[in-house]
């Protein structure tokens, strides 16, 4: 367990487990000590398939906008929709995208042109709406990808799809795969951290589950640690009243001794995980309070993130935490901001949502950049699907709602390895489907790679490529076959790489 390669450690443990499965229990004692040496399994600890290409980023910050932000009102300007405002969609487009149970009862599907103003910003002339002035200010740092698509139509499968590569839960999340493949750069903090925030969105918005940052069938030491929005950032970390840290350490050492003895006897990798988790928890007792104490931040930095930065559980606070986590070598940080699911009263609600995230997101990019961290950090912003061009519910002059739309949506990326100041991909004039550069419709299908469209798996493959991992090679055997994050799909999108 000496090197920083969890893949190697894991394979060693895995092989030992199978070894014992086949032999009598009595063998256990002579196991890990001398006989089962590195030589025996050295051939199995095969060539590392990671990092065939030098990684262009060492950390990922995933700003996940839970609920599905409306691309029509934020990034994908469709003047035609404003022109044809109110006209039925079915008169202009053949509906190939299935609609949700919520819209299926509608008699009309009126086009809803956005009520917000779009302008071109920066040298890159990126089109961004008035709702996001700060992000518009960093338009030259980001790469806006407009041709994302997915198959999932509802929130839970869609978010699960983005995080784990499958709509059905049970698989490891992206952060866990990275943690498994690349290991940690800081022994005092977890490799994978996630934080959830709520803003002005309605309180009973779409829930999020802990399995979204879980380790699935990977050993649980790779699962993400959620930092709580209120109270102690990590539950059960503080020592109870009266318990000295030295006494705690003594206790943990004794527990570790027992666990190690059992591990020697049994070879169960979960014991190893438990030992590791205890060690990490002990270290986190000092590192987490230091991390979440913002008193060492200069005022002008805090101001950059906006007024919410002091409120625990806000997006702004989580953003500055994300920057601090990257400074401390935490590989994968995921932020979830809830409340984007605007089925009704979108123009009113989205203003509040954007106010929540606009300034902090831009501040995060600026802060990372001035500290020289943006070169090494990949920042991704986006939701689990897009929203419809038609209005869900009644369309009025000032109000409309939008339903879920997986066929095309927008995400933006910035940082290590991404070409800044560009827009990638385009959708048709109605914002209904993806088209190529000449305007011809592209009917993407995840089973066949489509160069002009970016599927969820393609994005995952690209993220892994930027981190130095070949997505086809980072696998884990479970239930008798090899699994990988991108399942049997996914291709790296070279067009957005610098």
């Amino acid at each position: 367990m000496m090197n920083n390669n969890p893949l190697e450690e894991e394979l060693l443990m895995y092989s030992r487990r199978h070894f014992f499965g086949k032999m009598a229990k009595g063998v256990g004692a002579m196991a890990l000590g001398g006989m089962v040496t590195k030589d025996l399994f050295a051939k199995e600890v095969a060539e590392r398939k990671l990092k065939q290409v030098a990684p262009t980023a060492k950390n990922v910050i995933y700003l996940f906008q839970s609920g599905g932000p409306s691309q029509h009102d934020l990034f994908d300007h469709k003047p035609k929709l404003q022109e044809l405002n109110g006209e039925d969609l079915r008169d202009h487009i053949q509906m190939t995208q299935r609609i949700t149970g919520m819209s299926v009862g509608q008699s009309k599907f009126p086009f809803a042109g956005t009520v917000f103003d779009f302008k071109k910003h920066g040298e890159s002339q990126a089109e961004i709406s008035e709702l996001l002035p700060h992000i518009a200010g960093i338009a030259d740092e980001i790469c806006i990808v407009k041709n994302m698509y997915t198959e999932a139509i509802n929130h839970d499968p869609a978010i699960t799809f983005f995080q784990t590569g499958s709509e059905i839960p049970g698989r490891p999340s992206m952060g866990s795969w990275m943690s498994y493949g690349l290991g940690s750069l800081n022994e005092n903090l977890p490799t994978f951290v996630s934080m959830v925030s709520r803003g002005s969105g309605r309180p009973n918005c779409q829930p999020l589950y802990d399995r979204l940052w879980g380790s699935g069938f990977l050993p649980t030491q790779y699962s993400g640690v959620k930092f709580m929005p209120t109270g102690d950032p990590v539950l059960y970390l503080k020592n109870p009243e009266g318990l000295r840290p030295s006494l705690r350490k003594k206790m943990l050492d004794q527990v570790n001794l027992m666990n190690e003895a059992k591990l020697k006897e049994f070879g169960d990798p979960e014991i190893f995980t438990r030992i590791k988790q205890y060690e990490l928890a002990y270290k986190m007792q000092t590192s987490v309070p230091e991390l979440s104490d913002l008193s060492d931040e200069p005022q002008h930095i805090l101001d950059m993130y906006g007024p919410d930065v002091h409120r625990r559980g806000s997006y702004a606070f989580n953003c500055i935490m994300a920057r601090r986590l990257v400074e401390r070598g935490v590989r994968f940080t995921q932020l979830y901001h809830m409340g984007w699911d605007q089925h009704a009263t979108l123009p009113k609600d989205i203003v509040g949502q954007c106010k929540d995230i606009d300034q902090p997101s831009a501040a995060l990019i600026k802060d990372l950049k001035q500290r020289g961290l943006l070169d090494d950090t990949l920042v991704i912003w986006g939701g689990e699907f897009g929203r419809t061009a038609y209005s869900q519910g009644a369309l009025t002059k000032t109000n409309y709602g939008r339903d879920h739309h997986p066929k095309c949506f927008t995400k933006w990326l910035a940082g290590g390895g991404i070409k800044p100041g560009m827009t990638y991909g385009q959708t048709d004039d109605f914002g209904y489907g993806i088209v190529d550069a000449d305007g011809n419709p592209v009917n993407p299908d995840k089973h066949h790679y489509t160069p002009d469209a970016v599927h969820v798996h393609d994005l995952q493959a690209t993220i892994m490529h930027i981190m130095g991992i070949d997505h086809t090679q980072l696998t884990y055997q479970h239930q008798g076959r090899d699994f990988r994050l991108t399942d049997v799909h996914g291709k790296v999108v070279k067009g957005i790489l610098s």
């Binding site: 000496m2 990092k51 990684p55 690349l182 401390r328």
Partner: protein, 486 residues
């Protein structure tokens, strides 16, 4: 009277020779005697200084007397007899030491002979002076005596302290040429780091010393620990290689730092060469599997090959070579990991470039910590010392990290002086010094970094004009932060 003196002198000599060579005459020394012999013999280094001082005094006397007639000595009987007696006692004690068997080898033999010859001369001198009173013969004898003394004493000094001329400043540069002595420059450092703590001058576990070839040949109660040319009979390497780690006789013991596989290969190779003391690397044929390990001793480190079109066999060979080099480097990294876990990783699998981060340690990472990275310094391509406490240590470390491309020194206590070593690093592409006390004084230095692509200056003391100056001199460099922005 004279006759009595002479007889007693001869008897004394005979007695001491008898006792001195008692072991050779008796056979092996009995156990209890060994301890006594060690104790008594340990006064040899004390006593021998007396005849040395005395002989030199006699020489000085003669020279001054030769130059200034008034100072010519008239009665040198007392110092001469003092010289003879102390020399005799020193020789006696030295022979006692020799009997313990703990000292063997060519050096010891030559010192023994020199010392005995000198003692004979020391006894001869008073005879010449008192009985024959021939000034010329006396002076010649004295001269020969001094020569013998120098030779014998030098050998004696070498036994205890090593060759003093080794430490001479002029010699030092000569030593750093790329032709190391296999024993002293390759084998000894290994033994020093892994064995000497229990098997050298200060401690002799099981009566075994490993700090000279002579000692290793003498071995312990089971005999020699090395058999030249025969590694399968040399316990030195057998105990390292073939015993399981928890075996009582496995060396080094389980709880001590272990001999690494490449170190073991080197030791075995040396034994196979006959355990030579004076054989040099460049004159020796190096087996192919040791080429890579020995590269680091030769001072030439080829890190990456030039990209060229290669066929499959070449590619395969290169891959294998890379794997071997990686193993050697892995050993060094593992040593660093013991103190600084999770701080080093390979950037990718195609070469040996390393990324080092002090993120886990921040303020606990100091200049001393930086020194511990020296073994891997020239493999480091990206150095992240943000938030650490390094400052002056950079002057020693940076010249060794001559291939580094990205240096991060944000939030460190560095000053303008500490940045100076960076000027020599041509490979530097990205430099991050945000939130440090660097001022306009460093502008000169920064403009020398001609290959710089990105420079982070946020929250430093460099002025807006300063930034302009740097940008002018480095037009291709992107300067981020600094007082031109808020």
């Amino acid at each position: 009277m004279h006759k009595l003196k002479i007889i007693s002198l001869v008897v004394l000599i005979a007695l001491s020779i008898l006792i001195g060579f008692s072991a050779k005459l008796l056979g092996l020394l009995p156990e209890q005697l060994v301890e006594w012999y060690h104790f008594i013999g340990s006064f040899h280094p004390l006593l021998l200084h007396l005849p040395i001082g005395c002989t030199l005094l006699l020489l000085t006397w003669e020279i001054i007397g030769f130059v200034y007639k008034p100072y010519q000595s008239k009665s040198l009987e007392i110092p001469l007899i003092f010289n003879a007696l102390t020399s005799l006692m020193a020789m006696f004690l030295g022979l006692v030491l020799y009997q313990t068997g703990d000292w063997q080898g060519d050096l010891i033999e030559s010192h023994l002979i020199g010392g005995c010859v000198f003692t004979i001369m020391a006894i001869w001198l008073p005879y010449i002076y008192i009985c024959i009173s021939n000034k010329l013969i006396y002076r010649i004898s004295l001269f020969i005596s001094v020569i013998t003394l120098t030779l014998a004493a030098h050998k004696g000094g070498e036994i205890t302290h090593g060759d003093p001329l080794d430490k001479a400043p002029w010699k030092k540069q000569a030593k750093e040429t790329t032709n190391p002595n296999i024993y002293s420059d390759i084998v000894v450092p290994i033994l020093e780091s892994k064995c000497y703590s229990c098997h050298a001058a200060e401690k002799q576990k099981n009566g075994l010393r490993l700090d000279s070839i002579a000692m290793m040949l003498k071995g312990d109660d089971l005999g020699a620990v090395i058999v030249p040319y025969k590694t399968d009979e040399s316990r030195l390497t057998l105990t390292i290689e073939h015993l399981p780690i928890d075996d009582d006789y496995h060396m080094p013991p389980e709880n001590k730092p272990q001999v690494t596989p490449s170190e073991l290969e080197l030791l075995k190779w040396w034994i196979n060469l006959g355990a030579p003391e004076e054989q040099y690397l460049n004159d020796t044929e190096i087996p192919s599997e040791l080429q890579i390990i020995l590269e680091s001793y030769m001072g030439s480190e080829a890190l990456e090959k030039e990209p060229q079109v290669k066929n499959l066999t070449q590619l395969r060979q290169e891959k294998e070579e890379l794997q071997k080099r990686k193993q050697v480097l892995d050993e060094k990294i593992n040593i660093i990991f013991e103190k600084y876990p999770k701080s080093v990783e390979y950037i990718d699998i195609n070469n040996l470039n390393l990324y080092f981060t002090a993120a886990s340690f921040k303020s606990k990472f100091t200049d001393n910590s930086l020194n511990e990275l020296v073994p891997i310094a020239n493999y480091i391509k990206e150095l992240d010392l943000n938030g650490s406490k390094v400052s002056e240590g950079l002057s020693n470390f940076i010249p060794k990290a001559k291939n580094v491309e990205i240096v991060q020194l944000a939030n460190t206590p560095i000053n303008n002086e500490n940045l100076k070593p960076l000027a020599e690093i041509n490979s530097l592409r990205i430099l991050n010094i945000h939130s440090t006390q660097i001022t306009d004084e460093s502008i000169e230095l920064l403009t020398q970094l001609s290959n710089l692509e990105k420079l982070y200056l946020w929250n430093t003391k460099i002025s807006a004009q300063g930034i302009k100056k740097i940008q002018e001199k480095l037009p291709k460099c992107l300067i981020i932060g600094g007082s031109k922005e808020a």
